[in-house]
């Protein structure tokens, strides 16, 4: 990944994180909040792999925790794992598949909510499992609505990885 791609990914995540804490966090639709940051991270991880996904998730989470003055590292931890996992999916089975962004966002929305719930529970903070369960379906729908435009924009900014980058994962014989 080139430096310019890294800068673009960082800008995308920064803007998404700021928009998430300032704007999207106030949009409550059927008890759920659309997660622009999560969708952006999924798009970047799918296009740029697990390392970029993990690093992006870590710093994006750090940004969110800093802006909201929440427990530092909490969102970072979950988003790091999300970015890494989706990155691995993009590097392997999800590569070049049209449904990959949508499938990733749907699955990750559930895992992200559950991950946050578990971390909050472990820390002894409020972990309203019922409310999270009720808002899961609307959250998936909202994030899926965001997926197409966000993925298209991120894909336009970060061109898909070239052949030379792919060979780092899959060595071809002959």
């Amino acid at each position: 990944m080139s430096l310019s791609d890294g800068v673009k990914a960082a800008v995308v995540l920064f803007v998404a994180a700021v928009a998430q804490v300032s704007i999207f966090s106030q949009l409550h639709v059927f008890g759920a909040v659309p997660d622009l940051l999560l969708v952006s991270l999924v798009a970047i991880a799918l296009l740029r792999g697990s390392v970029v996904g993990a690093v992006g998730g870590f710093f994006a989470g750090l940004l969110v925790d800093t802006a909201t003055l929440g427990t530092l590292g909490l969102t970072s931890l979950v988003l790091t794992l999300v970015g890494y996992w989706i990155g691995r999916y993009g590097e392997t089975t999800g590569r070049d598949r049209a449904h990959a962004p949508f499938l990733s966002v749907a699955v990750v929305t559930v895992l992200y909510q559950l991950g946050l719930l578990v971390v909050h529970f472990v820390l002894g903070e409020s972990a309203p499992a019922g409310a999270v369960a009720q808002s899961l379906f609307p959250a998936i729908v909202l994030n899926l609505i965001l997926t197409a435009p966000v993925y298209a924009l991120v894909r336009r900014l970060l061109r898909p990885a070239g052949r030379e980058e792919l060979t780092a994962e899959v060595q071809l014989l002959g």
């Binding site: 700021v18 928009a19 804490v21 300032s22 704007i23 106030q26 697990s50 390392v51 993990a54 690093v55 998730g57 870590f58 989470g61 750090l62 940004l63 925790d65 800093t66 802006a67 003055l69 427990t71 530092l72 590292g73 909490l74 970072s76 931890l77 790091t80 794992l81 890494y84 971390v119 820390l123 060979t167 780092a168 994962e169 060595q171």
Partner: protein, 310 residues
């Protein structure tokens, strides 16, 4: 050339020489190692931050750094909020329009309920002075000792200028009989003329058929109170030689002869003398009495039920 190449490859494939297991490609191994190292380091870093932040959420160096970071992010957040404000306003406007109908219906219902509650409260409040006065009368020394009060609410009022009766929500089940006297906190109202199990009709003193033996409280002059002109009462049959003064209080006279008991006990206030007239042709004084009770605005009354039925 092509044939040779194919035969070469076939020769290689057909070779029975066992090759050693190929070593992993250096670039792939390095990539995996880097990837795993990065994610492990990041997770450990996140856990470390989480631990420190959780242990000292409001103090420490990390908190200061977080505060500085939040301050640095603040302008961006404000900018984002301002950029989004028109869209949010538009959304709120549309959402408000869609909710306006339901909101209006809900508010109308609330308004109706509040109005009903206010009416009930004000109606109860309006009855309070009359009830208080009635209570004072019942507990006062002027209340006849041989009677028990049966409190009742007025449920219908005199309907028109020719009707001088009202209905109360107490009847024979409460001990009321025909001719049971009825009072309010101000004074004598009338007597029961019809009774059912739970209601009774009270004919007021303003009725032309009413007649109450009465006396002037100041000078003891006796007479009979009956309906007069314009809602007033008249103290009749007072001989000219007696003196009745304007302002004198008129009360019920009570029983004078045990063989002919009066339906009204002694001492219940009826009214105050408003005028006294004397003519040469009449044998009696013309004494007008202004009743203490306003018969058209009674809320609560008490029927006087004798302790021992006669």
């Amino acid at each position: 050339m092509a044939t040779r190449s194919r035969s070469d490859r076939a020769a290689v494939l057909a070779s029975s020489v066992q090759r050693s297991k190929p070593a992993p490609y250096p670039s792939k191994a390095r990539s995996t190692l880097v990837r795993r190292t990065v994610v492990v380091v990041l997770v450990l870093l996140a856990l470390a931050l989480l631990t420190i932040s959780f242990r000292s959420p409001t103090s420490g160096a990390l908190h200061s750094v977080q505060g500085a970071g939040a301050s640095a992010l603040r302008p961006f957040q404000v900018a984002a909020t301002r950029v989004a404000q028109p869209f949010r306003d538009a959304y709120d406007y549309v959402a408000g329009l869609s909710n306006a109908k339901a909101e209006a219906k809900k508010l109308k219902q609330e308004n109706a309920e509040l109005r009903r509650s206010a009416l009930i409260a004000s109606a109860r409040a309006a009855k309070y002075p009359a009830l208080l006065k009635l209570l004072h009368f019942e507990q006062g020394s002027r209340f006849p000792q041989d009677f028990n009060p049966v409190n009742a609410a007025v449920i219908t009022y005199p309907n028109g200028p020719f009707a001088h009766s009202l209905t109360i929500d107490a009847g024979s089940n409460s001990g009321l009989r025909v001719n049971t006297p009825v009072v309010s906190g101000d004074g004598l109202v009338g007597h029961v003329t019809n009774v059912s199990a739970d209601t009774a009709v009270v004919t007021t003193l303003a009725d032309s058929q009413s007649f109450v033996a009465a006396r002037d409280l100041q000078n003891g002059v006796r007479g009979g109170v009956k309906a007069g002109p314009d809602g007033t009462l008249v103290l009749s049959e007072v001989p000219k030689q007696f003196r009745v003064n304007r302002g004198d209080a008129i009360v019920t006279a009570g029983t004078r002869n045990a063989r002919y008991p009066d339906i009204y006990p002694y001492g219940i206030p009826i009214g105050r003398v408003s005028s006294v007239g004397v003519t040469d042709t009449e044998a009696f004084l013309q004494v007008q009495v202004q009743p203490y009770v306003n018969f058209s605005s009674l809320d609560a009354v008490a029927a006087l039920v004798p302790k021992r039925h006669r």
